[in-house]
């Protein structure tokens, strides 16, 4: 990826080359806020072997050519013509086979590259070549430099007027140009990244493998380089990219730890560091191992990862949904409603919590010791159920019960005014804000009252044809105390209506369809957009955008949040408004980028919620559930929550013991170790954990490195180099215990990954794909049952079910193989059939069964099995085994979406997802890209309709199916 700006262009272009030999040139269009593809193409060749050291893509500083080094021995040149368009590419033979780095040099008459390479004898040299566009050939360049530092593997081209190149080695840094050569020694370090500070290229930031950041200065007199200076600035995450932004602010991108935004200070701090960390950007990569746990035992999984490497190693706890941090709770049965009230309308904190029961109303308040105790408001009627409560203007409180509306002074707590329901009509539903009350009585009477100073005035009364099921007058206009509109949900005709206050004139009537009545309506506004939310009795939620002046509704959307009736309430957290939907699967509705998002709350069944912002529990919520009243604070409103536990060492393996609720983590101290060609000895250590201490009870030497351990039928299954070995846990005569080998199985190259199920053992070999072994109890032997004969280099395996096994390989593919039970011959049964293939584009380190979302065992989705995986780049993904019918449907949808959603730079999604390794490329099969399918929901209505037409399925139906899918993760 490289930015460049051709001559005469006002804007930079972005050049991208992919691992799959595609490239594109992109431009950002300000007006439409879209990416424009200027050029694209394929740069693959039939000859040549892909480079070992990674692809190199560079652009001449004067924008004459793009250079690509993709295959050993070839340098591809894409020239620009005068108009800045790309011409046809051509290859130039590069005789250096082991290329370490190539950069274009500045200030050259013809495009010139500097090539850092290693020769047969492992010595490293630098060479320059001019590219002759006319002859499509290299011309030996102006200078070269032999016998460099043996660790040299990074070139930094120095811009004009200095020109030349910096060669960063492990022990020296060399400046080299046609007429100058300067070198300085440095402390041994491996420089991973650099960033240029000044445009003239006299200062550079260098980040090394230990996370230290250095400043390199080229001292010069006019255009003559006089020397180099290097200075340690401080420590950051281990940098993989450094970008100097401006004003001493630097972005440090890291693939081993969190990326950081740092400021370089003029003066060192107390520890002698010039680096000040301004901000951190979470990076989970590389996820080396993880486990899925359900600590709260709620059916909601959390992922605990071993993330980062070296000094940036850490554990990360990744949780889906929003957590409630419980502060206090009381046992209270049968809560029917809750409202918080202030002692005066101007007060910042809530004082009272009104809790309504079926035949009484209790009032709780904070006392001096910050305890919640029961109190009384004299003016309130406490012998009946409260339907609604609210603070009102003029330091008043309003209470609505089934037969009256009471206005009470919040200071004296005395009744100031009262409105009685007409005899024979009981108030069924009511709502209020600071200055208005709207209530509905039996028979479809809708009554609108206004609150004055000690007065309650019935302003309007209308008779509707059906009973009212719910209503809302939450103010969404400029006045926080007064609403222009009222939303009313109706029985019988199942509609929601918008009335204008105070005249109660009907402006909009929206039929909801179906037979489920609306149970809760709410007017609210997010990010300046007004919405009407309408929750149904079956756990569905409809959302509309509301035009506040005309009362018109549009952009109807339907999602399913749970299965029980939902009650909607607004609350605010971190100065933003959100909506809490209380039901059997409580959720928070919030808005991001002008789009409504739904996030699960990690609680089971919530019947009622109200914000309760008291002095003792600031920013808290009162939550009624399962006979309990809880007060707690809510997490930041976002979908995934990540908590970091820094370790400072490289965590390699993690496992969780449920009984003791403990994690075991295996760490590596960061120390250089000599590479050993083959491990001939290993050990298995057995520890006992007693009172939080590890105690070694036995150890067993093995003939090779132990790559995997599994508990297996009460025994221990170990993968040791080429073999799988089963150990028994035996009691010796003297009472000590030991591991005793029982049986084994040979015939692997390196058995790296092992999973078991029953008596079956699935082995992922270093380079021989997946094999299935079976343990025979009677014979006490492990035998091979079947294998996949493809030469896949494995990186992880998992068992999906009895017959289907999942694997990830070295070339960033996923595949599934199936045991062949029906084969006619032994020979056929011994071969596993490849049933699915997919290019994931990530190096998967681990699969685990589990899920990040709450699983309701009775729901349809609860039956779908999911597997979570973690990758080197820090991605956590979910694989779900879909039923056949759903798969077929979604596959059709995916195909139509590919036509509608065009990839950036014209890159084809189909090609990208096709299985690919050194030997072959095949279309993806049995896998779908959930991200692509879910992007359906982000499409504009027009595009959605295009898709729906193509598929001959209603947009609503498509939305529903896709939303079902989103609930899997």
């Amino acid at each position: 990826m490289e930015l460049f700006r051709p001559h005469g262009e006002a804007q930079d272009f972005l050049f991208i080359a992919t691992e799959r030999y595609k490239f594109c040139v992109l431009q950002w269009d300000y007006e439409s806020s879209e990416l424009i593809t200027r050029a694209m193409g394929d740069v693959s060749d039939r000859i040549g072997r892909p480079t070992d050291n990674g692809q190199i893509g560079i652009i001449d500083p004067d924008c004459r050519v793009i250079g690509l080094h993709l295959y050993d021995g070839l340098f591809k040149v894409i020239p620009f013509d005068n108009k800045g368009q790309l011409n046809e590419a051509f290859n130039i033979r590069l005789e250096e086979l082991q290329v370490l780095d190539i950069k274009f040099l500045y200030g050259c008459v013809k495009p010139t590259i500097a090539v850092l390479y290693q020769d047969n004898k492992d010595a490293r040299h630098l060479k320059t070549y001019e590219i002759s566009l006319k002859d499509k050939e290299f011309v030996e360049g102006p200078w070269s430099q032999n016998n460099l530092d043996n660790g040299a593997d990074l070139l930094i081209p120095v811009p004009s007027p200095l020109c030349g190149v910096l060669i960063i080695g492990e022990e020296t840094i060399v400046y080299c140009s046609a007429n100058a050569f300067k070198a300085i020694p440095i402390r041994p370090s491996i420089t991973k990244a650099y960033g240029r500070v000044d445009l003239d290229g006299s200062r550079y930031l260098l980040g090394d493998h230990a996370g230290l950041i250095h400043l390199l200065v080229i001292t010069h007199e006019k255009e003559k380089v006089t020397g180099l200076k290097i200075e340690l600035l401080g420590e950051t995450s281990i940098a993989s990219s450094i970008s100097y932004l401006d004003n001493a602010v630097v972005f440090v991108g890291s693939s081993y730890g969190d990326s950081q935004l740092i400021k370089l200070n003029m003066q060192p701090d107390a520890k002698g560091s010039y680096v000040e960390i301004l901000e951190k950007y979470v990076n989970l990569g590389p996820i080396v191992d993880f486990c899925v746990v359900d600590l709260e035992r709620q059916g909601q999984g959390q992922v605990v990862t071993c993330s980062g490497a070296y000094k940036d190693g850490s554990l990360r706890i990744v949780r889906n949904g929003i957590g409630i941090n419980e502060q206090a709770s009381v046992e209270l049965q049968g809560i029917k409603g809750m409202w918080s009230l202030k002692s005066s309308i101007d007060e910042a904190f809530d004082t009272f919590l009104v809790v309504s029961f079926i035949s009484e109303t209790r009032i709780l308040a904070m006392n001096i010791e910050d305890e919640l105790e029961e109190t009384e408001i004299e003016g309130f009627s406490s012998q009946v159920q409260t339907l609604f409560c609210h603070d009102a203007v003029y330091n008043q409180l309003v209470q609505v019960t089934s037969n009256s509306v009471r206005l009470v002074s919040s200071t004296t707590r005395e009744l100031r005014n009262k409105w009685d329901a007409p005899a024979g009509f009981a108030v069924n539903v009511a709502t209020a804000n600071a200055s208005q009350v709207l209530l509905a009585t039996g028979g479809g009477h809708l009554v609108y009252l206004e609150i004055g100073d000690g007065t309650l005035t019935e302003v309007k009364h209308v008779l509707l044809e059906y009973e009212v099921s719910c209503l809302d007058i939450n103010p969404i206009g400029d006045n926080p105390n007064h609403s222009q509109l009222a939303a009313v949900g109706m029985w019988t005709d199942i509609s929601v209506r918008i009335f204008v206050l105070p005249d109660l004139t009907l402006v909009t009537k929206e039929q909801l369809g179906g037979e489920i009545i609306p149970r809760s309506v709410l007017l609210c506004s997010f990010e300046g957009i007004s919405y009407l939310l309408c929750a149904l009795g079956d756990g569905h939620l409809l959302s509309f955008q509301l035009d506040t002046s005309s009362g018109k509704l549009r952009d109807r959307k339907k999602v399913s949040l749970g299965t029980q009736p939902i009650t909607l309430r607004t609350f605010s957290s971190k100065s933003a408004t959100h909506v809490f939907a209380a039901s059997d699967r409580p959720a928070v509705i919030y808005s991001n980028n002008k789009k409504l998002l739904y996030s699960n709350v990690n609680l089971k069944e919530v019947s009622h919620m109200c914000p309760f912002n008291s002095a003792a529990f600031p920013d808290s919520l009162a939550i009624a559930r399962e006979g309990e009243l809880t007060i707690g604070t809510i997490d930041a409103i976002q979908k995934l929550h990540i908590r970091t536990i820094p370790i400072g060492e490289h965590a390699r393996r993690i496992c969780h013991q449920e009984q003791t609720r403990t994690f075991a983590i295996c760490c590596l101290r960061n120390q250089p170790s000599a590479e050993e060609s083959e491990m001939h000895f290993g050990r298995i250590l057995v520890f006992i954990v007693e009172e939080g201490r590890l105690q070694l009870i036995t150890e067993k030497e093995t003939k090779g490195a132990v790559y995997s351990l599994n508990a297996f039928n009460g025994k221990l299954l170990a993968a040791i180099n080429q073999k799988i070995q089963l150990y028994k846990w035996m009691l010796r005569d003297d009472g000590t215990r030991e591991l005793q080998s029982e049986c084994g199985h040979h015939g692997h190259i390196l058995a790296l990954y092992v999973q078991t199920r029953g008596d079956f053992i699935v082995v992922g070999d270093l380079m021989k794909s997946i094999s299935l072994l079976i343990y025979k109890h009677e014979e006490g032997a492990i035998e091979e049952r079947a294998r996949d004969y493809n030469a896949n280099w494995m990186s992880a395996v998992e068992i999906l079910d009895d017959d289907i096994y999942l694997g990830a390989d070295n070339c960033f593919n996923l595949f599934t193989v199936k045991k062949n039970n029906e084969g006619a011959t032994d020979e056929e049964r011994a071969r596993m059939e490849v049933v699915g293939e997919y290019h994931i584009g990530e190096f998967v380190n681990r699969f685990r069964h589990g899920s990040l979302v709450m699983r309701l065992p009775d729901s349809e989705i609860g039956q779908i099995q999911t597997v979570i995986f973690g990758t080197v780049s820090g991605m956590i993904g979910v694989l779900a085994s879909l039923p056949q019918e759903q798969y077929a449907f979604l596959e059709k949808l995916q195909t139509s979406l590919r036509k509608v959603i065009k990839g950036v730079g014209g890159l084809s999604h189909e090609q990208w997802r096709s299985f690919n390794n050194e030997k072959r490329t095949a279309e993806a099969k049995s896998y779908l890209d959930g991200d692509l399918i879910e992007s359906f929901l982000d499409l504009s209505r027009g595009k959605m309709e295009e898709v729906s037409k193509g598929m001959d399925v209603q947009v609503e139906e498509l939305c529903k199916r896709v939303e079902e899918l989103t609930r899997l993760h």
């Binding site: 072997r49 499509k136 011309v139 990569g285």
Partner: protein, 450 residues
């Protein structure tokens, strides 16, 4: 390995370089396998070996007794020595007794590259036969004008099904399986053709090596051969050294003048003369080169060029590297030469071959990288470093001279066969064998001590 796997896990080592490193380590530890055996049904010198290109599962062999056999390299038919040694018996053979069998020696047996349903044999009885693998019946045959030395099919071919055949005759014939007739006759060689090899980068390019010592390149879409390799055409000086165009800025010209730059250049030139790896290629986009060559060479190739030789004596083997950039040739002058295909230059790499069989076609192979070249050198098989020419592997096991090397890149195994009628398996050294024996002993001990 432990360390490497850790580095791969954290993304410090790129996964493909991890794999390549491990593969080359395995290849460099090849030794005679004591775990895997092919039971050769042949009663004569085995002249040809090939593993199928689709699955990498079936090994096809052809022998002097007129028989061809197919083996499964993955699944053993039975085991010996309590399961330690896997015996691979052939799945089937076709020999002289077969109704369509060849009457004389089979010199060449190759798989149909698209699937394993067909294979092709060429014999001294002047026939090339195409066999249906499943029924073991000959489905097509071609009568050639002389003994067939070598047949080849293009692994790249998407639009043709041609068998290139080198025979006693001076002409190379292309036999079309689809039509059952000769589609091309390529004239140019002045003697029989011992070796034929298709390009690994284009389905239209064919290389042939003759008894006249010439290696010819053909583009079968056009008439005539477009290049004859010349052993004396080396690459020195092909790429112009420091170029000083008149418009060069003062700065860079001063650079060129400075003794510093000059010295360095001298050094690199010397390096080249000592014949290290450096391979100078004049090159550019393939198509354009071909075009320009065509212009230069066609029609009526210069007679001096046309008479150029690649070897003194017979060209006995050809092998194009799978990256498509180099061609290896073996000659009865006991030399292996490495050619840059793009430029047609001899790289002058000196392979320490010793003697090579002179009277018979031999089969070379390379490892994946391609870092190693396997060459039958009389009774031994030598592995040479592709870029150094140095012998890195000496595989001794055959009792008589070796004819063929066939590298199985799936398992990093080498199969060789020779006049001793054996097919030997050379597999990467695992500590597996010793470890296993030790283990067994250890396990026994454990049981006793209990």
């Amino acid at each position: 390995m432990w360390q490497a796997i850790k580095d791969r896990e954290t993304g410090r080592v790129r996964s493909n370089s991890f794999a390549n490193r491990f593969k080359s380590r395995r290849v460099s530890s090849l030794q005679l396998s004591n775990r895997k055996d092919f039971v050769s049904p042949h009663r004569g010198s085995v002249n040809s070996l090939q593993v199928d290109l689709t699955e990498g599962r079936y090994l096809l062999s052809g022998a002097t007794d007129g028989s061809a056999a197919v083996f499964d390299v993955q699944r053993a038919t039975d085991y010996e020595a309590s399961g330690l040694i896997a015996k691979h018996k052939c799945i089937f053979t076709v020999d002289k007794q077969h109704e369509h069998g060849h009457k004389f020696a089979i010199s060449s047996a190759v798989w149909y590259p698209i699937d394993t349903g067909l294979f092709v044999t060429g014999s001294y009885d002047q026939f090339i036969k195409v066999w249906d693998t499943n029924t073991a019946q000959a489905v097509v045959d071609f009568k050639m004008p002389g003994k067939v030395y070598r047949t080849a099919m293009s692994s790249m071919a998407m639009s043709h099904t041609l068998i290139a055949a080198g025979t006693e005759d001076v002409q190379v014939r292309l036999c079309d399986i689809a039509s059952g007739a000769f589609s091309h006759t390529l004239s140019g060689h002045r003697d029989g053709v011992m070796s034929v090899e298709w390009s690994t980068s284009s389905e239209w390019i064919l290389y042939t090596g003759g008894c006249d010592g010439a290696i010819r390149f053909w583009d079968i879409r056009r008439a005539g051969c477009f290049r004859v390799l010349d052993q004396s055409q080396t690459q020195l000086g092909v790429r112009p050294p420091v170029l000083k165009p008149p418009e060069v800025s003062s700065k860079s010209s001063s650079a060129a003048k400075s003794s510093f730059g000059g010295q360095n250049r001298l050094k690199t030139l010397q390096n080249k003369q000592t014949g290290s790896q450096s391979i100078k290629g004049s090159s550019s986009a393939k198509a354009s080169v071909e075009k320009s060559r065509q212009k230069k060479l066609h029609p009526g190739m210069l007679s001096t060029l046309d008479r150029a030789t690649a070897h003194y004596g017979v060209v006995t083997g050809l092998k194009a590297t799978n990256n498509g950039m180099y061609l290896l040739s073996a000659g009865s002058d006991s030399r292996i030469r490495l050619w840059d295909i793009e430029s047609g230059c001899n790289t002058l790499l000196n392979f320490e071959t010793g003697r090579i069989q002179t009277n018979k076609a031999i089969q070379l192979d390379t490892s994946d990288d391609p870092a190693l070249v396997f060459v039958p050198c009389m009774k031994t098989v030598k592995g040479f470093g592709m870029w150094s020419g140095r012998t890195t592997l000496m595989l001794r096991g055959h009792y008589e001279s070796v004819n063929t090397c066939c590298f199985n890149s799936n398992d990093q195994e080498l199969y060789t066969s020779g006049a001793d009628r054996q097919i030997l398996v050379w597999s990467p050294e695992g500590s597996m064998e010793d470890e296993m024996v030790q283990d067994e002993v250890a396990e026994d001990k454990d049981n006793w001590s209990d």
